[in-house]
Amino acid sequence: MKHRIFVANRGEIAVRIIEACDRLGYDTVLGVSTADKDTLAARRAGRVVTLGAPRPADSYLNMNAVVQAAISTGCTAVHPGYGFLSERPAFAELCAEHGLTFVGPSPDALRALGDKLTARRLAESVDVPVSAGGTATSAGEVQQLAEGIGYPVLIKAAHGGGGRGMKLVENSAELAEAWQLASAEAEASFGDGTVFLERFVQDAKHVEVQIIGDRHGHRVHLGERECSVQYRYQKVVEEAPCTVLPEATRTLLYESALRIAEALDYVGLGTVEFLYDVSRDSLAFLEVNPRLQVEHPVTEAVTGVDLVREQLLVTLGEPLSFTQADIRLRGHAVECRITAQDPDHDLRPSPGTVTRWRPSAAGGLRLDSHIYEGYRFPPFYDALMAKQIAWAPDRAAAIERMEQALAAFEIEGVTTSLPLLQRILAHPVYRDNTVTTHWLNGLLTEKVPS
């Protein structure tokens, strides 16, 4: 059967998915909003259908429009990319009901992972390290739990994400009120007021493992990435591998990720996220992202595996074409997210027309982007313009190559995060690889000495 893939996304990832489909000989149909009819992805797709108005709720998040469009254009599968509908169990179910292969794990797996408390319990049940925490119902129990964990504690929404619905509690006097407030906010934001407590780890690195599974019971990990450079829980710079991990911890990290994948009978690409406390050399499970990740190119750079191609093949029923023994990590890769955001003004979005766009074409670089000169960057979606990836035999050389790439990159018309990325890469803390997840927030709120 000749596959026809419906691409239910936009921006650089739509271009990336179409490119993978082209190389596999699959047809593509792209669903766009009226704001995205002239995008690079729209030009490259086999066919383009307009789903709805620019607002995501009217187009990219409109499940009925997406599934109807996929059926009516004769598609066999739907690739949701990341964000939008990629983690919605109801969407995966709707696809299945209409004979469309959802390029992702099963609805059950999505449901289990969408609830962070359930995911945490799942991790615990297969002996994966989690940070001290749990949930309770009565105010007394909550107090008791917090005492047991030790302050400060973090209240998290079971169905939250991207840092939303979190509250930091310093002492027992604040706890009861914060718990109620967090629950009310979670109810309002996510339609479920379930919240839980976790120990707040002040200085930790964000480390994540790339996994892939097929429909024949094979599961493989593709090494780890470090994504500690974050601003308000949004990743800014990512790299592979995480060079500070001791070998024993790295082994535990991989085993933990694979145990979770096994417990879920995981199919497709997934990322198991952990916090790594460097001073204590301890790992704590955070969550699983059941989809293709923005930062997947750094893993591709060090493994040589085309993750989107493999993701399509395994979800369409092919057995994995490699085993764990075939995966060799080579060198070091860094990714910088170039966004249309103003670093001088709290990274506020800066949409507009891109009048100049001249990336570096030096060796060891890869650029994933949907931007071209004359592109009108729309205000309706996220601010990602491009992902610059640099590979070199070691970390220092990869950083150097990235610095050269960023210095040579000419962008005009919109304000971008380029200066911030250059500042991060030049910083001694980044160079020493002692960055933790709160480092960039601190750097950006620092008072500039005048």
Binding site: V49, N64, A65, V67, Q68
Partner: protein, 181 residues
Amino acid sequence: MDVDLEELAAIIEQLDKTEFTDFLYEKGSLRLHVRRGGYIPDNAAQHTAVAAAGTSAPPPAALPAAPAGPISAAPAVAPAPTAVAQNGHSPAVSPGSLPDGHLLVTAPMLGTYYGAPKPGEPAFVKVGDSVAADAVLCIVEVMKLMNSVTAGAAGEVTAVFVKDGDLVEFEQPLFAIRTAS
């Protein structure tokens, strides 16, 4: 400038059996452009939606020639290249070049187009019908949900650009209406 009608009919008949969205045929000075799943682009719309083989409407050769010389016929067809809009009396209307006093009724959402309340029943409207502003012109079905599309203004239906079962995209032109003045 000479078109062999039988040849043209044969081409379109063959096309009807295949999957395509855009077909360009050039032979000498003849240039035949057939598109489906969309509507006539502005630059190709000077002369109307065109009827294809197997219908009673006039074939492209009967239409006024393009000023540039070669015939450029781009019927607004989907999914089969058959006739869409024909009103034997007034010049046919195309979404790209709407005559004064006409308005376009577009799809309020992506979905499947149905011109009649149920299969086998007469269409809600046909070209030449007078409609009130709140008249239902068609149904757009999205995942079993039927959405009525109303005229929006009183007037006469001068063109229907799609046909039953077509996938219509958001804001795709469905009807032209000459508004009552």
